[in-house]
């Protein structure tokens, strides 16, 4: 049997395999992109660098919110060798079981991957990936652990940046940070698990500015996820950029002083610079120390406790709480009366207590005196003239027309809807109009007598303390306001255009001087209701308010501005359930704030002591 021809079979095999492999390699290496992409996926990792957040300065350039370095204790299971659980537990001061549980927790929970499409979560924990065993340790805490880490291969420390608050004030303004949740990660691809996001206040409102720009490094990694070299010598890398600094209108000293004054009380102080609309201080009492909300451990320790506190320290009262303005509202009714021409500065009305209750004082013969005495029957008469102008035959239709006119004036002061202030958590208050009462009583079934409580700032009228302060600022400006705002400039640029625009009210400038004269009398003339706000060398113009409250003691309120000419500060003080009227508690508080801001020192120590010692936080 001649088998020589069989050599061709073997030669054919060798050649065919060679050709098939060549074709396959041509397809894999030249034609098909799949494997190139897969290789990038395997070896080239995108590493994000989160920059520190932008810092916040007060109006004098003092650092209100800054960043501090913290440390995460990281581990990579694949690199752990001869792990001594007991020794490690002793090092970090935990029990052995706790350490074991933490590992279990990380494996089950923190390697969790949520599928965007199905919403299902699966643990994608990998031994070669780093995870934080302990998060956000302070320098002191890591200093104890770090020297011993060489005994625990696989563990290492990682630097992270978190907030710090050199002053413990203004928590309700700045807000706080916490870790992003799954929805936020899905919504905005900026965020990755473990990143922080602003949760309230300015941190939340200015989140996109403060967070800065992430840096991206493309690196070639090993199978153990170690960086080997930068990809393409860093050609595609971008540098992380810290968020711009925010310069606030807040005067941190004034803010701190306001918080001190409202200690053991519930209430608010809002101070605004009338000429710019910058918020100088925004005190919410009771509040909390923002340092309690730094990092996961602090938040988990303190958040639920503060949330369940009946005095609601997390609630930003000056922004969100709606109160009846009480007698301070009489200023606005006076202005509308003058503008509508239904009264003149010389109009006098008797103090007829059969119409509405009042305290004992001589009947006001003119408008400034009515403001000085805060005469209720006077304003009953004034507001009745505004609402019922006898322009229609039917008293109901007449009231409808009058109320809508009145409401239009009120809205021009920024009332009845949210101000466009640069913060979250705002409320709009309420200014009733015809439609509002139609819903309550039915169409044309109400007239002034039904709604008379609006004349003295009670009933359906609701303002937030921020709006009250803005009214004071508007009067100080004689007829216009700039939307109150916190941030003067972002990274040196600003303020924004909307915080430069003057909003004019529907009241002529000429009508303001008589009202302001009345406000001066309130403070500086004998028998004025706000005499406790009086200062030695500064003319303070103010108006007291005592808000009746079905739930307890009256609220004490006071709006003011100073000095009378070229005003530097407009202020609203609102103290809940203070025993006694607006003149007794709110007026001296406002006086102290004005004095503090304008003179930097307090002359009337007695007044300060009285306010500091007052305690209305019972119940």
């Amino acid at each position: 049997m001649n088998t020589d021809n069989r050599k061709y079979v073997l030669i054919a095999f060798i050649i065919i395999v060679g050709i098939i492999y060549s074709v396959r390699l041509f397809y894999m290496q030249v034609v098909d992109e799949t494997w190139t992409l897969r290789a990038q996926e395997i070896a080239e990792k995108r590493k994000e660098i989160t920059p520190p957040r932008g810092v916040l300065f007060d109006r004098k350039g003092k650092k209100m919110v800054s960043n501090r370095t913290y440390y995460n204790l990281m581990f990579v299971e694949a690199k752990m060798k001869h792990f001594d659980t007991l020794a490690f537990a002793n090092l970090i001061g935990w029990s052995k079981e706790h350490v074991r549980y933490r590992f279990y927790e990380i494996k089950k929970g923190e390697g969790k991957y949520r599928n965007k499409n199905t919403g299902k979560t699966t643990s994608n924990y990998q031994k070669i990936r780093p995870y934080a065993f302990l998060k956000e340790l302070t320098l002191d805490e890591i200093a104890i652990i770090a020297p011993h880490l060489e005994n625990f291969p696989g563990f290492y420390e990682e630097v992270t940046s978190m907030r710090s608050y050199p002053y413990s004030n203004g928590a309700n303004i700045v807000g706080y940070l916490s870790e992003v949740n799954g929805e936020e990660i899905d919504e905005d691809n900026f965020y990755k698990p473990g990143n922080n996001i602003g949760r309230a206040g300015l941190e939340r409102f200015y989140e996109t500015e403060l967070r800065g720009r992430k840096g991206i490094r493309y690196i070639v990694t090993s199978a153990l996820n170690n960086a080997i070299e930068s990809y393409a010598n860093g050609k595609y890398d971008t540098i992380a950029k810290q968020g711009p600094y925010l310069k606030l209108g807040i005067d941190i000293n004034l803010q701190a002083y306001g918080e001190r004054l409202l200690k053991n009380k519930r209430g608010c102080i809002v101070a605004i610079e009338p000429s710019t609309g910058e918020i100088l201080a925004l005190v919410s009492a009771p509040s909390y120390d923002p340092n309690l909300f730094i990092g996961r451990r602090n938040i988990s320790n303190n958040y639920s406790r503060l949330l369940s506190d009946p005095s609601k320290p997390l609630y930003p009262r000056p922004l969100a709480a709606e109160y009846p303005p009480g007698s301070t509202f009489k200023l606005l009714n006076s202005l509308i009366g003058l503008q509508e021409g239904v009264i003149t500065p010389e109009s006098g009305f008797p103090c007829n207590k059969s119409l509405v209750g009042c305290h004992n004082h001589a009947s006001a013969g003119n408008l400034p005196d009515a403001i000085k005495h805060s005469c209720n029957p006077y304003y009953y008469a004034v507001t009745k003239r505004i609402i019922q102008q006898n322009k229609k035959k039917s008293v109901f239709e007449d009231a409808e027309l009058g109320l809508n006119t009145w409401a239009r004036y009120m809205r021009s002061f920024g009332l009845g809807s949210k101000l466009e202030t640069d913060i979250t958590g705002l409320s709009g208050g309420s200014i009733p109009d015809a439609l509002y009462y139609d819903k309550w009583y039915g169409n044309h079934r109400w007239a002034f007598s039904t709604i008379r409580s609006i004349s003295i700032g009670q009933g359906e009228v609701m303002l937030t303390p921020l709006q009250m302060a803005n009214v004071a600022a508007t009067i100080a400006n004689r007829g216009w306001y700039i939307i109150p705002h916190f941030v003067k400039s972002i990274g040196g640029k600003g303020p924004k255009a909307i915080y430069k625009k003057k909003h004019y009210t529907l009241i002529d400038r000429s009508h303001f001087s008589v009202i302001i004269e009345g406000m001066r009398r309130v403070v500086h003339e004998p028998g004025g209701t706000g005499k406790r706000a009086k200062l030695k060398d500064i003319i303070v113009c103010g108006k007291t308010g005592t808000v009746q409250n079905p739930h307890g003691e009256d609220h004490s309120t006071f709006v003011a501005f100073a000095p009378m000419y070229k005003p530097k500060i407009a202020i609203a003080v609102f103290i809940e359930n203070a025993k006694g009227g607006g003149g007794l508690w709110a007026a001296p508080t406002a006086g102290l704030m004005i004095e503090k801001y304008l003179t930097k020192k307090i002359m009337e120590k007695e007044r300060e002591t009285t306010i500091l010692n007052a305690n209305f936080s019972y119940r």
């Binding site: 050649i15 065919i16 395999v17 492999y21 080997i228």
Partner: protein, 465 residues
């Protein structure tokens, strides 16, 4: 007669040169992939490249020794050599296991793998046996003897266990096929046992081995391709299922074969061969469809089991499967490659492709040199293999020819399987790429194997047996 000629008068320089080139390219690739910045010296013996150079020196020294010995020695002492390698294979079974296999004899990196040297012993004895019989009258006895020579070391190797080398030993079947020792007597005995049947020979029995090879090779490629979809970057609309890719390739080779036949054969031969090609194409396509649709039709758990076995599917406990990583490294090389020392996926440091300096050394080479490099490498191996076949055919003695074919087929197996597992055409069974992969045992055994061949060839004229 021999005295007038120098030792290298009939030395086959082309084979030696391509052998040396492959060794040097291998060292260059090992240096690139296992590069350690702390030890940049190529001759640093603490590093893999330094050791590989040391192995190269030892291999060349051994080669020189082999070359100085008269080739008669191999013919005379093939039985003791064969038995010696068997003894080593037995001893190694009592050694401690490394990576789950008792394959290493000796200490640490200085150990050797007896299985590598058993190939030489088996090749020599098989050559001796086949040259000693008259194969024109092959009987069941000769078939059994020849198979026994292969089977004994195979069983010992399977006990280690070393699946890769076990498979490589089946390459001897091709050598037997070339020499006419097939399973035909066995099949005739079975067929002729039926009353009234009396065949002198059967076509299937004679060509059993290449048919088996084609069936296995085609089945495995079809299996690997059955989950793939071939796409073309330049023609985004075109998507060919992997199975049809296999069928088209078969048709392509059929047509290529017919065109080739036009130039080399007479008309009569051509008609016969064309018939064989058409029947072969039809049968191959049927086989491919059975494999493909049979696999697709399997219950999912059976499918997963096969996929796991072939390394197609991610091992649920593993980080990622090696085959996928290796293919990513090869495929990302592109046309011109990423450049020497620039492999990002398959460098030892990154460790994405395990064993990237030994079994997967083709990865860093393909990643760094791209398609140009890989086509060159394939060309070099084809030249090497065909040169050995050419050498085999010019031998006067059967012994020499059988030995040369044994070398050719062993190297062919290593080449086909090793490259196949780098490009997704073969299951991942760990066997090195000859002369290229890092490792002393394989380099020494392949070198000795090569120099024995070179020696036999250089003395081809004075051998009359």
């Amino acid at each position: 007669m021999r005295k007038q000629e120098s030792l290298v008068t009939y030395f086959d320089w082309p084979l030696f040169i391509v052998y040396m080139l492959l060794l040097l390219m291998g060292i260059a690739t090992v240096y690139s992939t296992a590069y350690n910045a702390d030890h940049p010296n190529l001759f640093d013996f603490s590093q893999k490249y330094g050791k590989q150079i040391m192995w190269l020196g030892i291999s060349l020294f051994l080669g020189l020794m082999v070359f100085l010995i008269d080739s008669d020695i191999y013919r005379k002492f093939c039985v003791p050599i064969y038995l010696f390698t068997l003894v080593l294979l037995v001893i190694v079974l009592f050694m401690p296991a490394v990576n789950g296999a008792r394959a290493w004899l000796g200490i640490g990196s200085l150990g050797i793998q007896p299985a590598e040297f058993a190939k030489i012993g088996t090749a020599l004895l098989l050559a001796r046996f086949i040259s000693s019989i008259n194969v024109k009258q092959q009987t069941i006895q000769t078939v059994v003897y020849a198979n026994a020579i292969i089977l004994v070391p195979m069983v010992l190797i399977l006990l280690q266990p070393d699946a890769g080398t076990f498979v490589v030993f089946t390459s001897f079947l091709f050598v037997m096929y070339r020499e006419g020792i097939t399973y035909d007597p066995v099949i005739l005995k079975i067929v002729n046992a039926f009353p009234g049947v009396l065949f002198k020979k059967t076509w299937v029995g004679s060509h059993f081995i290449p048919i088996l090879f084609v069936v296995v090779f085609l089945s495995i490629i079809t299996l690997f391709m059955s989950n793939e979809i071939i796409t073309f970057e330049s023609f985004p609309g075109i998507e060919i299922p992997g199975f049809w890719g296999v069928v088209f390739t078969l048709a392509f080779f059929g047509i290529l074969g017919m065109i080739f036949l036009r130039f080399v054969s007479t008309k009569r031969e051509r008609n016969n061969a064309s018939l064989v090609i058409v029947i072969g194409f039809v049968l191959s396509s049927i086989l491919a469809s059975i494999v493909n649709f049979g696999f697709q039709g399997l219950a999912s758990h059976q499918k997963v089991r096969i996929e796991l076995f072939l390394g197609l599917k991610e091992d649920p406990n593993g980080e990622d499967y090696n085959r996928n990583r290796a293919m990513a490294a090869v495929g990302s090389g592109g046309f011109l490659g990423k450049g020497y020392n620039n492999a990002s996926v398959s460098s030892v440091e990154s460790n994405h492709v395990p064993e990237s300096e030994t079994d997967f050394i083709f990865c860093p080479f393909a990643e760094e040199w791209g398609f140009l490099g890989t086509i060159l490498l394939i060309g070099m191996y084809l030249f090497l293999l065909l040169r050995i076949v050419f050498i085999a055919e010019r031998q006067r003695s059967t012994f020499n020819r059988v030995y040369a074919y044994a070398v050719a087929m062993i190297l062919f197996y290593h080449f086909a399987i090793n490259l196949g597992m780098n490009i997704g055409f073969a299951p991942v069974i760990g066997i090195p790429l000859p002369f290229f992969s890092y490792g002393g045992s394989s380099m020494m055994s392949f070198s000795v194997m090569m120099f024995v061949l070179l020696k036999l060839d250089s003395q081809r004229r004075d051998v009359l047996q």
